[in-house]
Symmetry: D2
Subunit: 148 residues, 4 copies
């Protein structure tokens, strides 16, 4: 497959997956770009995302990073799920902040992979670092009938 | 402080915090019980939480566990935030599932602590295991004005 | 298989594995007990384990916990390796300390599992908490010829 | 401080710390280079590092990465310890392999930091990825009397 074909495949996977992904849609996520093993997503922190200390709930920071992880590890049209993830928080986010998640593949073996996601705010400040562990299951991404 | 006082304090912290926690409220979370260093929360998986492979987005599993973590580590009326968390997935969740998160303190030092959260579904099956690292900041939980 | 047979198998696995495990032997580790999904090991911190701040190198705390993890997840005579681990430090260890690692299975699926290991010192103080992710490969533990 | 002064300080910290670090010395670790927030170390896998499945014990992979982490986060002459770490394994190491750990600072706040360490073998293959969380304590690195 040429690099151009791989890029087209990554974009087709993201389009098909996002169309079914009510969670990411509902949260107002926007896919800025995808490429093989890569994805960039943005999301604006809304009032519904604020927790009991007045900041964006860590769960929503995680969710944005996790979606970027999902789009990057599913860019080869092989259905792939998360086996586990970790997140470290650097800087709080508040209502109105526009967050960007950049996902980059670090390693990809036969079935498992490691993806690093950096979350920054509109001032370029690092909000959180996320590492995801992926696991390839049976089925494809574009035609999702066979997914497990 | 007597055990009964500690228990009252934990309940007052949870009440005050939940009242300000739009994120957890909006997701339909329910606090089943709190105690010093402990919290039990439930949440039903809705259609808005489903991702591109047809299961509950890992971000929402994380968010429920993270809220249980927050209520358990903020049960002493010392404002406490997460420095980082990890989650491992065991079993998928789907629309309609009722998830329970049980948070239990494993360790608590002067400023930092470790909390383990187990996520199960309505059949008692373990959905995910979560470990949170807490960091005590200045301020209290019940009167939140001074929190950082 | 009866519970007594499972226990015998766990003990046979540990014996066979420890005989080949030069690393754990060389560090003076001692297997206190094993059972299906469980293992208890001890190790004394020696002068060769001290790092540049005068405490036991975190690598040796990790290594003891990791060995306890290995003995617990290999107790079914299915060759099983670590896919990843995390450790959180609570309290420093120094030369002469006698450390105990207690490994307990939290979850075990078809191929993957989660194991929690608690590391304490001779005063019962928690030194570190470790969580290991296991992955079952082909081959057995007792007869190791086919292991990958 | 000029960049040249910062570089000199990083080298002085590494030298002072390594002189006291019996653990890293004893394992035959070699400091290839240090810089502010960076460190490169090598270690050869010996027969004493082999575990019950015939590969290098994960504890020794961790220990090399952990030392690289320590030298990188202590390069500012502020005594800094690990609060926690995670490691993901990609490829096994065996007796005779020469491993290189490259540590790179990802984030550094007032007291805490995040460092990523990549472990490769002599063929350039990635063996493991390590992420360390640092915590600055009181005291300096070069004159270690006041360290906690």
């Amino acid at each position: 497959m040429t690099d151009a074909d791989k890029q087209k495949l990554a974009e087709a996977c993201a389009e098909a997956m996002f169309a079914r992904d009510r969670a990411s849609q509902k949260l107002g996520m926007n896919i800025v770009s995808v490429a093989p093993g890569k994805a960039v997503l943005t999301m604006t922190v809304t009032g519904d995302m604020v927790q009991g200390h007045g900041s964006c709930h860590g769960g929503y920071l995680f969710t944005l990073a996790d979606s970027a992880f999902a789009f990057s590890c599913n860019s080869y049209d092989k259905a792939t799920v998360a086996s586990g993830c970790s997140i470290d928080y650097m800087y709080g986010a508040k209502e109105g902040d526009v967050l960007t998640a950049v996902a980059q593949e670090q390693s990809r073996g036969k079935r498992t992979g490691i993806y690093d996601i950096t979350l920054t705010n509109q001032d370029g400040r690092t909000v959180a670092l996320f590492r995801g562990r992926s696991y390839q299951v049976s089925g494809t991404v574009i035609y999702s009938g066979e997914e497990s």
